[in-house]
């Protein structure tokens, strides 16, 4: 049945709004539900280590089975090579060493020497992993010097936390337990809830949202519609969700498309 795309949104810095983790959205797109968006590439940034990037055997860089669009690394600049076409850094985060390439910005034809970082400083790098002749490197979309050494501590912790989070997502996705949200199963659950009384359509919608509220950013409107596709029309769901919101039973979370119920499972 329908996977709950809301489960992954907003957990990682830099996730673009409305773009739920690409792997989850794909199933919705295939079934052509009214709210489905075109299949899109995963848009995420994960803090990780050079070792992780170099060790990954898959063709496109993944961590714990999740395709990673961009990475965040923190390490020491070991070398700087400035040419007119690009600036090439070597970044060492003590788990390995990787090249970081930076190209002229915007309309600039040549690189600006003064922009380059010095050797021996700590830098934070954001960008996608690319391969050139079997060797991986990072496209340094953003390369900035680390001024506060507490960033070192923060990065150590971010890497561990995100890795464990992905591991947890992977294992809960594989099991059937917390994944799908079924309208008929929620009908059988418990006494009447704040969303409405009895088994009205509004109640149905509300219960779907309650189930989706177990994730940090709640459930997206699209996911609610996907879950109830056979029972309720999309515009009816829109109306009911607006009513629930003005009742105060549900509220928006990371953006206007994501909702959470005041009551959680």
């Amino acid at each position: 049945m329908w996977n709950n795309p809301g489960g992954f949104d907003g957990d990682f810095s830099g996730t673009t709004g409305g773009g739920s983790g690409g792997g989850f959205m794909n199933t919705t797109a295939q079934f052509g539900s009214p709210a489905a968006k075109k299949e899109r590439r995963s848009q995420n940034i994960i803090a990780t280590t050079v070792k992780c990037i170099l060790d990954c055997q898959e063709e496109s860089f993944t961590i714990e089975g999740m395709e990673v669009n961009m990475v965040c690394l923190v390490g020491i600049i070991r070398s700087v090579d400035i040419s007119s076409t690009k600036i090439s850094y070597t970044l060492d985060d003590h788990t390995g060493v990787i090249d970081v390439l930076r190209y002229p910005e915007g309309d600039a034809e040549e690189t600006n020497e003064n922009d380059a970082l010095a050797e021996g400083v700590y830098a934070r790098v954001f960008g996608p992993v690319r391969s050139l002749q079997e060797k991986r490197h990072i496209l340094g979309f953003r390369v900035v010097q680390v001024d506060d050494p507490n960033m070192i501590t923060t990065h150590v912790l971010e890497v561990i936390q995100q890795q464990l989070m992905l591991k947890k997502l992977k294992s809960s996705g594989a099991g059937e337990g917390s994944g799908p949200v079924l309208a008929n199963s929620s009908l059988l659950s418990g006494p009447s809830v704040p969303g409405g009384s009895g088994n009205s359509d509004k109640d149905l919608v509300y219960r779907v949202i309650v189930q989706g509220s177990s994730s940090e950013s709640g459930i997206s409107k699209a996911a609610v519609k996907a879950s109830l596709q056979r029972k309720l029309a999309a515009d009816k769901i829109d109306r009911l969700m607006e009513e629930l919101a003005s009742d105060g039973s549900i509220y928006t979370t990371v953006d206007d498309e994501h909702f959470m119920a005041i009551e959680s499972t």
């Binding site: 280590t49 003590h94 788990t95 021996g120």
Partner: protein, 107 residues
């Protein structure tokens, strides 16, 4: 791998990263005493005399040899960041690295 004073003995012969406060610099510039993030005191040995005056907090990278560390490179924290640096949080992060399998573990 990042270690503190207590963990250092387990990494004999291995590559380590140690962060701590510079206590004393030997006049010959080849050796430094460091207080690690967990309050232990260790000896650092350089293969070339230091070119600059090491002071404040420094992160060193090298190989562990018994109770000493042979230093290949280091990063001295900017002086004005020392006051704000949370050594305790750093030490907890180091302990966390070694408490479970994660991306920082280099076998």
């Amino acid at each position: 791998m990042r270690v503190n004073g207590s963990l250092l003995p387990q990494f004999n012969g291995k590559g380590v990263v140690v962060l701590g406060k510079v206590l004393n610099v030997d006049p010959n510039g080849m050796s430094v005493t460091l207080r690690t993030s967990d309050g232990k005191t260790i000896n650092l040995v350089f293969n070339q005399p230091l070119m600059e005056n090491l002071e404040g907090i420094v992160e060193v990278h090298g190989t562990c040899s018994g109770s000493q560390v042979h230093i290949e490179s280091y990063y001295m924290l900017p002086i004005d960041t020392i006051e704000n640096f949370d050594m305790d949080a750093y030490d907890q992060a180091v302990q966390l690295i070694h408490s479970t399998e994660n991306a920082w573990i280099v076998h």
